[in-house]
């Protein structure tokens, strides 16, 4: 059982927001859909959830066409960055209606989560702060129990405590009630531990899709004096470097000749954030 994205393209006028993306999203895993702002993450999620209609290609949810298909969409819940709920609606009402549209919704669970965030469920979402509006949407998403739950920038406007709580709830939810939960974000450092699989999107294209484990084991980092590092890297596939004074870090793909590490160099594993920055081409604009 999975969501299959086949050759999906979306053009807005002349701009290609999603460019022939093919990917597979398995059930019961936590995914990270990573990409810089404007990479096409939200557009792709909007296509999966039938909010935007693709220019080309198709999306199958457990083998069923996702476009204009209520029974396929009953398995898909997208918590989006944009507000889709009527402004006057409060969280209690959102939960009530979510349960009508998504039959597996657990209203009590939603109220429980709202309580942990001290969210006032009787307050219209239009009157809530940005952070609490995000929380209200998150509450609905988790309560929906949808088989494929997508969270688009789920920590928008949240302070550090609430972010931590939100990540904790995702894992808790996943552990108690295994289902696919995808977190689309450009803030990778915080979610890295959460993720099992990642899909990295850059300029409308999927540039990597793999398990975090495989991705990180593809290479390593090497730190030391610049000339030593350069010498070591000479015949290796270097995907990026960083310099701090005369200290240099190089990120290398592959494990050729790793045993011959000269003195003065240190080896470290890749981390997701670093790999992401390197893969998506440089540090500008990346936080």
């Amino acid at each position: 059982m999975s969501i299959e994205i086949k050759n999906v393209t979306k053009k807005f006028g002349k701009t290609v927001a999603v460019d022939a993306i093919t990917a597979k999203i398995d059930e019961e895993k936590i995914y990270g859909i990573l990409g810089r702002n404007g990479a096409g993450k939200s557009t792709l999620l909007n296509i999966i959830s039938n909010r935007i209609i693709a220019t080309d290609g198709e999306v199958l949810v457990d083998g069923e066409e996702a476009v204009e298909n209520n029974s396929a969409q009953e398995k898909v819940f997208l918590m989006s960055e944009v507000d889709m709920y009527p402004q006057s609606m409060n969280t209690a009402e959102i939960l009530k209606w979510t349960s009508k549209f998504y039959p597996d919704t657990d209203i009590e669970k939603g109220k429980e989560i709202a309580k942990r965030f001290t969210l006032d469920i009787k307050k219209g979402i239009g009157q809530l702060s940005t952070g609490y509006r995000t929380i209200a949407k998150f509450v609905a998403a988790i309560a929906s129990n949808a088989k494929y739950t997508f969270l688009d920038e789920p920590v928008l406007g949240l302070d550090a405590n609430h972010r931590e709580l939100l990540y904790k709830i995702i894992v808790e939810e996943y552990a108690e009630n295994p289902r696919m939960i995808a977190v689309a974000t450009h803030i990778i450092e915080e979610v890295a531990g959460l993720l099992e699989e990642v899909i990295i999107i850059e300029k409308g294209k999927v540039i990597e899709t793999d398990s975090v484990e495989n991705l990180l084991s593809r290479g390593y980092g090497v730190t030391g004096k610049a000339e030593l590092v350069d010498g070591f890297c000479a015949n290796k596939n270097v995907i990026g470097t960083e310099s701090i004074g005369s200290l240099k870090i190089a990120y290398i793909l592959g494990h050729d000749n790793i045993s011959e590490i000269p003195d003065g160099l240190e080896i470290s594993p890749l981390n997701l954030q670093k790999l992401f920055i390197v893969l998506t081409g440089g540090e500008e604009e990346v936080k």
Binding site: R51, N70, V76, Y85, W97, T98, F101
Partner: protein, 253 residues
């Protein structure tokens, strides 16, 4: 499942509004009755169509609010565009409820007001029955009143929905353009009909006469069957065009 919930959502939303509206009406109605008593003159008589007018505006507003906010809410909840549109059509019968409420309140008030005045024990009549020259017993007249209003309200609701669909699909520039063009056409039609002396004996521009003719089947004489069929044609026309618009609709911020 999705369609059922969608229909339920629409009914809950508009039945609440109708209930609230009926509740709030008590105040102006009591006021009108007090004034009736004081002046010994009926504020509400059988011809007064204030309430019908307010309900007509309300059904148009129902139509306008039936599109964008609900479309967005339904997309969030995985309802297809087809089902969103179907749920709108299945929701049109709220207009029957609105018409029934209007008919009930209107006639009750007229009855009370007649009782208060010396002119009691008048035979029961109804404005719509008069307009359409409709003969029949009290029950038949009341049913006809509700049918006429229901159809008119449904037509207005579909029109509001269609306009809302047209406008939310447009960029700001085109919205302004459409409004400007419409305004120019209407003003021009008045000027043209004045200049070309195309006023019909009723003293109205030809295009208004045309609309009246289309809707009622005549200018002086209104024909019930013609009215019913023209309403049905308009409802089908408006909902069909909005169906075409919603099929590929997306949310614009």
């Amino acid at each position: 499942m999705k369609l059922k919930a969608a229909v339920l959502y629409r009914y809950e939303k508009y039945l609440k509004v109708i209930g609230l509206f009926a509740g709030l009406l008590i105040i102006p109605i009591i006021g009108a009755l007090v004034a009736t008593k004081k002046n010994n003159y009926p504020i509400f008589d059988r011809y007064s169509l204030y309430l019908a007018g307010i309900c007509a505006v309300m059904s148009f507003v129902f139509g306008i609010t039936s599109y964008k906010p609900i479309f967005k809410f339904f997309l969030q909840n995985g309802v297809s565009r087809q089902s969103t549109h179907a749920s709108f059509i299945l929701n049109l019968p709220v207009c029957v409820v609105l018409a029934a409420v209007e008919c009930l309140i209107h006639n009750t008030v007229v009855l009370i007001s007649n009782q208060m005045l010396s002119s009691a024990n008048k035979p029961f009549t109804d404005a719509f029955a008069d307009i359409f020259n409709y003969q029949g017993g009290v029950l038949k007249i009341l049913v006809m009143h509700i049918i006429i209003e229901s159809l008119a309200f449904m037509m207005l609701m579909s029109l509001g929905y269609l306009l809302s669909a047209v406008f939310s699909g447009m960029k700001h520039f085109y919205k302004v353009l459409v409004i400007a063009v419409l305004a120019v056409i209407i003003i021009l039609s008045f000027i043209l009909s004045a200049v070309t002396d195309s006023y019909i004996s009723l003293g109205m521009p030809a295009w208004i006469a045309f609309i009246l003719y289309f809707i009622f089947g005549g200018l002086g004489n209104f024909y019930l069957n013609h009215f019913i069929s023209s309403m049905i044609i308009l409802i089908i026309l408006f909902t069909s065009i909005s169906h075409l618009l919603i099929r590929k609709a997306i949310v614009r911020k």
